[in-house]
Amino acid sequence: MSEASYPEDLLYHQEHDWVRFEADGETALFGITWYAQDALGEVVFYDAPEVGATLVKDESYAEIESVKAVSDVFAPMSGEVIEVNASISDEPGVINEDPYGEGWLVKVRLTSVEEKDALMDSAAYTTMLG
């Protein structure tokens, strides 16, 4: 298992999701934070959205399961799913091992880039976690 970390190049949502902007500034990767995967325990299943699905900020777009818990995954920003991390379906444990890298969940074409202003930076998120 990885060590607790909250990289500074990401933005964070209060439901323990992160956003990494691509160079174009219009697409981004979403995933769950170290805190979320730790609370959930060993991930055994990722119920991914379809490519093309519409995500609405603050609404659930996927489910992640451990042995004895199910967690909704909330969209930190709105957009359209353009890619799903298919490798997670075969090896869901990668969400635990590398939540900010290989464990990304979806790639999204953002529809309201300004929504990023409502997200937290690493310091604010860490403070929220207490």
Binding site: F45, D47, E65, S66, V67, K68, A69, V70
Partner: protein, 458 residues
């Protein structure tokens, strides 16, 4: 002090002292006065074991059991022989008295039984995933309709009129909650009307629900029915009698997505209708929509093989309002009887039993339809049950037969007004040729007598 508790007066005093209260009533002080029950329950006084036995023995003696008459009653539950070893094993305290295997380290026996049971059901149905049991047959059909609803969200469910009336009524009851509607596919010549089904199908149909063999005993052409349903993306559900599946092509090989059914015929008593078990098997794509417990294989920390309850995130105790079902306690002990019975029958035995039933049923059908006043209700292939029509009031004929110690079967008119004098006759390996001949004789006399009575009355 009842014989099932052991607290002596001294125990009670010591315990109250340790708690720090002075009487047992103090322990109930939290119950507000307004809702305290201040009289004795209006129930008879308790009595010793031998007297309770005598009372229940006397009640049981008022019933006419399958030991008291030669019974051809079926219609969902069948008088198969249950081998003695089923009683021996199911009455072992290690199987009888634990609960659901929440602690797998001390529940390996129970979990292994579930795994072996799931394997047997998977083999019988030709579908890869079985759960560890649901309540019984008709509610299993209802649970399958809920799976279909979860799978595609479509509102129209089509159910064959050949499905057991209790299953159809259960579906109607549940549809109110599911937000689905039930429409009946008519029968034609004793089987589900394929042309009518095709007419009814469209892309808003979520499930097509069939039964194999159907309530009239007919073997359905599941492949053709399933293919029609699949063209419109409906989930195909078949409620199956497991014994005939020994010789019939399994539903999973015919395009059925979910196979469910009543498990009583697999080593379980008649018990006036329960407890038995329902089985529930599905194709791989529905594994995460299954209701109920599922045992899965794994290893322990020392590398030993073992089993656990798996995919529990489907279930009510974790997923709560989003669960695939609300089921908690199912029928583990009855499923144990089922897997032991199937082990007793064995690979060849199940086939031999099916063949024997098919031959005796064919013989009985021929013998009965040769009687004056009896005609075949349909001419479809059958395995263990068939339907005839009497040229006399069926309920009166049944009563006359019962007076002669023969229960000739089930009066179809109770559920099918169109077959008002229909009779459904079931055969098991316990009904031999001599008994079938006796049925023919008694039935023939009863019909003749009833016709005579009608003529006299007229």
């Amino acid at each position: 002090m009842s014989s099932y508790t052991a607290a002596t007066q001294q125990d009670i005093e010591e315990m109250l002292a340790a708690i720090g209260v002075s009487s047992i009533d103090d322990l109930f002080a939290e119950i507000p006065e307004g809702v305290r029950f201040d009289r004795a329950l209006d129930l008879p006084a308790g009595k010793p074991e031998q007297e309770v036995f005598a009372e229940l023995n006397a009640l049981a003696a008022k019933n006419t059991s399958a030991d008291d008459e030669v019974s051809f009653l079926g219609a969902g539950m069948y008088d198969h022989y249950i081998p003695a070893l089923v009683d021996t094993l199911t009455s072992r305290a290690e199987f009888l008295t634990p609960y659901t295997p929440y602690q797998p380290e001390v529940s390996q026996g129970n979990l292994q039984v579930m795994f072996e049971y799931q394997t047997a059901i998977s083999e019988l149905t030709g579908l890869p995933v079985s759960n560890a049991s649901v309540y019984e047959g008709p509610s299993a059909v209802g649970a399958a309709a809920y799976l279909a609803k979860l799978a595609n969200g479509r509102k129209r469910h089509l159910v064959s009129r050949g499905v057991h009336p209790h299953s159809r009524e259960t579906l109607e009851t549940l549809a109110v909650g599911y937000g689905t509607t039930m429409e009946e596919i008519p029968l034609s010549g004793g089987i589900t009307d394929l042309a009518a089904l095709k007419e009814m199908l469209s892309d808003d149909v979520g499930a097509v629900i069939l039964q194999q063999p159907n309530f009239l005993g007919s073997v359905e052409d599941l492949a053709a029915l399933a293919a029609a349903a699949k063209e419109h993306g409906a989930v195909v559900i078949a409620s199956c009698d497991p014994i005939p599946l020994g010789i019939l092509e399994p539903p999973g090989a015919l395009g059925v997505d979910v196979a469910v059914g009543e498990g009583q015929t697999l080593g379980n008593r008649l018990d006036y209708g329960g407890p038995s078990f329902g089985f529930f098997a599905a194709s791989q794509e529905h594994i995460r929509r299954m209701p109920g417990r599922i045992a899965g294989e794994t290893r322990d920390v020392d590398g030993r093989r073992g089993w656990v309850l798996t995919l529990q995130t489907r279930e009510q105790h974790i997923r709560r309002e989003k669960a695939t079902s609300n089921i908690c306690t199912a029928q583990a002990l009855n499923a144990l009887a089922g897997v032991v019975y199937l082990g007793w029958l064995g690979k060849q035995g199940l086939v031999e039993l099916g063949e024997l039933l098919a031959r005796r049923t064919a013989y009985a059908r021929e013998a009965l339809t040769a009687i004056d006043g009896v005609t075949a209700l349909h001419s479809q292939p059958v395995v263990r049950e068939f339907a005839v029509e009497l040229d006399a009031p069926v309920e009166a004929v049944i009563a006359r037969c019962q007076e002669q110690g023969v229960n000739p079967g089930y009066a179809l008119g109770r559920d099918y007004p169109e077959f008002s004098n229909g009779l459904l006759v079931a055969i098991t390996e316990r009904r031999d040729r001599a008994q079938i001949d006796r049925l023919a004789e008694v039935l023939g006399s009863a019909i003749a007598a009833e016709r005579g009575a009608v003529e006299v009355a007229g």
